[in-house]
Every structure is written in structure tokens, then in C-alpha cells.
Symmetry: C2
């Protein structure tokens, strides 16, 4: 892990960009973080495209840091400056064609779009976790927050350092993810935007139903994909407060 920039934001948050095996990422830490008082870490998931997502990621990072956590994210495979995958690009084109034609995006397209992304991204996030937890001032436990929900589900299943997850029900859900969800056991807080234009509501409800966790909350709010109300963000923060401290 190599830091490529460092700046202190006006509210005292330390923002550092890094690369890890050629993958760009961003780390935000509170001024208070020190080797003698390490803070828990929240991984901020997103749909890909750090530059485009930066304003919303920064908002979420500021909330996490204000709550006493570090926050970090890495670019997804095939997004930003990372090399495109022919399989994913083809699936994305097929998805757009289906949507433009007013047809449902079939399970075969969803699988081609999401599953290779999960296969590649999850080991990368785990490698990022190794590097981040080795830094002075950052300790466990770790939370995962955000989409892609299939990535969050896989991480919650295979990565034992993740103690709790806030999942954004805002992406396509492969059947395989539904099966993995049954074996997830960490506490979950699932955010669903009720009128999300890019989201199949019933698929999200089915996924919530499938999770094996003994503690799971569905927090659904009116509005479109990017319209998560402030109070829903606060409820998610309280969830992490209960589970990461």
C-alpha cells in the first residue's frame, strides 16, 4: 500500500489516497486515531467509479469519522481508470439494451454482470483490509457499508473480520447471492429506497428474507436511488455504533 496524497479536511478528517497492487483507494481517519487508541474501520462499498462517487463517499466517510471510525474504499474492477472486462462490458450493453426495450433484465444477464465482479472484487477488498488493518491507529472490528449488495453479501459471508454490515439494496441480485445470503450470520441493516428506479424491489425483499442473520433490519424509505434521507443515514450509523464499539 502506497499513499499518493494526503490532506487534512476542514473538519479535521485526514484524507489519504493510496494504491494497492495498482488499485486506487481512499482512506479517511479521525484526528484522534493513534497507535495507542486504534479505531474500528468501515469499508465503504459503491457501484464503481471513485471519482464520480466521491461527493457521496465523502459524505458517508465524514459521518463515519464523526462517529469515531476510520473509513476506506477501493475502486471496483472495470471502473474508473481500471481495465475494462469484455464479459462485463458485454453484460452491461445487454442490460442497457433490455432496459431501453422496456424488457426485464433476465437472470442470465444479471449473473454475467454481477458474478465476475464479485469474484474479482472480494479478494481485492480482503487484501485492502489486510493492508488497512496493518496501519497504526486502525483496528477492528470492521463494518461493510454500501453496495454492490452481492459484494457486501459475499464479504459478509467469507470475511470473518467483518462484524456487521449495512447493505444498500440497490443493485441486481443473482440467484447465487440469494443462496449465499442464507449462510450470512453477521448483524445486518439493509437500506432500501422504495422507489429506486434501478432496483427490483421484490428481489431486494427476497434477499432480505433470505439472510440467515439473527439480527437483521430492513429500513425502507420513500424516494429514488440517491435519495436516502439523512435520518436513514443516522439510523445506519447507530447500527454501526451498536456493533463496532
Amino acid at each position: 500500500m502506497r499513499f499518493t496524497s494526503e490532506q487534512r479536511l476542514d473538519d479535521g478528517v485526514l484524507e489519504r489516497e493510496f494504491t494497492l497492487d495498482g488499485i486506487p483507494g481512499i482512506l479517511w481517519t479521525p484526528a484522534s486515531a493513534s497507535p495507542s487508541a486504534p479505531v474500528p474501520l468501515i469499508l465503504l462499498g459503491h457501484p464503481g467509479g471513485l471519482e464520480r462517487m466521491y461527493p457521496r463517499l465523502l459524505d458517508r466517510a465524514r459521518q463515519s469519522v464523526a462517529d469515531g471510525f476510520a473509513a476506506a474504499t477501493v475502486e471496483l474492477p472495470g471502473s474508473g481508470d481500471r481495465p475494462r472486462s469484455a464479459v462485463t462490458e458485454q453484460a452491461r450493453a445487454d442490460m442497457r439494451r433490455a432496459m431501453a426495450a422496456g424488457e426485464p433484465v433476465g437472470p442470465e444477464i444479471v449473473d454475467r454482470l454481477v458474478l465476475p465482479l464479485v469474484e474479482q472484487a472480494v479478494p481485492e477488498w480482503r487484501a485492502a483490509l489486510d493492508a488497512l488493518l496493518a496501519l497504526p491507529g486502525i483496528g477492528g472490528p470492521v463494518g461493510y457499508s454500501g453496495g454492490v449488495i452481492a459484494i457486501g453479501t459475499r464479504l459478509a459471508l467469507v470475511e470473518p473480520r467483518i462484524a456487521a454490515a449495512v447493505l444498500f439494496a440497490g443493485s441486481f441480485v443473482p440467484a447465487a447471492t440469494l443462496e449465499e445470503a442464507r449462510r450470512v450470520t453477521v448483524p445486518l441493516h439493509v437500506l432500501l429506497q422504495w422507489d429506486d428506479e434501478g432496483n427490483d424491489r421484490q428481489a431486494s425483499l427476497d434477499l432480505f428474507d433470505a439472510f440467515g442473520s439473527a439480527e437483521k433490519t430492513l429500513n425502507a424509505n420513500l424516494g429514488g436511488h440517491t435519495g436516502v434521507p439523512r435520518f436513514a443515514g443516522e439510523a445506519a450509523a447507530q447500527f454501526f455504533g451498536r456493533h463496532l464499539r
Copy 2:
């Protein structure tokens, strides 16, 4: 309104039983409530049977009072010591027979069970509101919290003094309630117990979808009817905190 008992609970809450036109009720107020500093009021809905429901109502009342609100409830028609209705008793028997036979409780039974109750209860709760708001130390705005969800929906629709409602999705939903829900506009926070044995989950989701309110949140948690987790109660309290203060 005539007070029939009064006691100061160990945490300073003043609990008073009353009758209003022969209907029993309970009022809980904070020690701080005074004519010069009136507190908002939360009406505590329930499925009927004040005596049986008392421990859970008291828990909810304590939470409301700790948050700086008064809380009050009245007995439902046909419950506790109040006279039974032949129509409702027949509908209840038909419902039990359907459930015992493993059959769905059809819409015709649901209508007979719930609609007359709504017709009779809602004017009673509004009369209670008149009397309660006339007491020194109790002001607006008013929140409604609890089931029967068809009563809460009707009250939210017809009673302009209700500024916000926490509805428990734990009862049968007549088609007429779904239609009324579309015209409800107050902010809503709907609690749904995901594994509620006495509740049709899809009917609850359809009802949530139908509400016309610009702000509505569905907070669904794992567990049965009486298993609302403490953190879900706190989220509901925060909702009232945002809207009644």
C-alpha cells in the same frame, strides 16, 4: 373525563386511570409537565384489552415520557370490560375457524372483523383527544403509535391534530384501509415484525406502499409479533422526536 386513580411511579412518571363516557383509559405524564410548559401527546394504540396489554403499554409509555411526551390510551370497543359486539364476535369466531382449518382468512371476514371496530373506535379516540388536550400541561402536536393499523390509518387520515404516526403492521388490513392509506399525508414510521405469525407480510408491504405520505419509513425486524427489538423502539422514538418537537 373523570380520573379514577393516580399514582407516581418510581421513575417520577404520573400514571392516572380515567373513564370518559364509560370508556376506561390511562394517562401517563412526565413530572415536568406544567400549564406553562405543555408537552406533546402520544396516543398508544393496541389490539384491545388494556389489562392484558398493560405491561407492554407501560414500557412504551415510559419511553414516551422519558422523551418528554405525555402518553395515553383508551380501551377498544368490545375489549376488556366493554360490551361485546355480536358482529365482531362472529367475525372473530370465523377467523379462528379459518385459521384452525389452515385456511386463509378471507377479505370478507377481515372486513367484518376490522371495519366496524374502526367505525366505533376512531370517534372515541378523537373524543379522548379532545379531553386530553384540554388538560393543563398537555399540548400538541399529537402522535399516534401502535396498532390496530386500520385504526391508526383512519385516525391519521381524518384527525388533523395527529402530526405523525408510528404504525405497527400487525393486524389484518381491509381493502378499504388500503384506499384510505393513499390519502394519508402525515409522516409515517411503520414497524413490521418480519416473522409475525399473526400477520400477512405481503398485505403489510402493500399497505406501506399505498400510503400517500411524502415521508414514510418501513422498519422491519426479524422476530415474531411481540419481539420488537429495543433498538427498533428507539428508532420509533427518534421519529417522534423529529416530528413532535
